[in-house]
Amino acid sequence: MTMLHTINKSPFERNAFDSCLTHVKKGSAILLIEDGVYGATQGTAGATKLAAAMKDVAVYALQADVEMRGMQGRLIDGVKLVDYGGFVDLVTQHQNTQAWL
């Protein structure tokens, strides 16, 4: 079963990011939204874990939230940016959505 996981909190604030990476299954996708986009910041411990997960899992970030925080160009390679329409598409393309709050 393919699942879309959303993370909306920074890994520096909550453990939702770590919990998600522990549970995510191959073929699923992770979408970073709101403060969750900080999880993909280059050079951080979270990004190292995320890069490792990206072998099995597609990782996306909500472009508006990345830009709102001035994080464009500061995220690790391979994170695909989507707009709100892309968010909707990710929801419909996966069988389930799990929000890690």
Partner: protein, 130 residues
Amino acid sequence: MKLAVLVNEGPYTHQASDTAYLFTRAALEKGHEIFRVFFYHDGVNNGTRLTVPPQDDRNIVKRWTELAEKHKLDLVVCIAAAQRRGILDENEAKRQGKDANNIAPGFRISGLGQLIEAGIQADRLVTFGD
């Protein structure tokens, strides 16, 4: 596709209410059906018509009301969460002996069964919260 949205965070808290609104709008623009938006926990605070945000700020409650009017959305506020936080419609105000109600246009108060139904009826349930 038929989508349902769950909002667990109040307005002007972090960003969940904004994200939920923008997601819902994008889904409607793409031609999807929004079966219901359910407001639970602090999310019920999205349903008071008494908010008066500064004029240069977004009006989160009004935005939901306008989207509901435009697309005939079913915006449901959880009754137990609403009563704890002082969100009342006319009937509930009367039943609880209160002198006023504050539910915003486009919202209705109902029970948790409405969330369960949304989870069953919709193809996807998307949660936004704190």
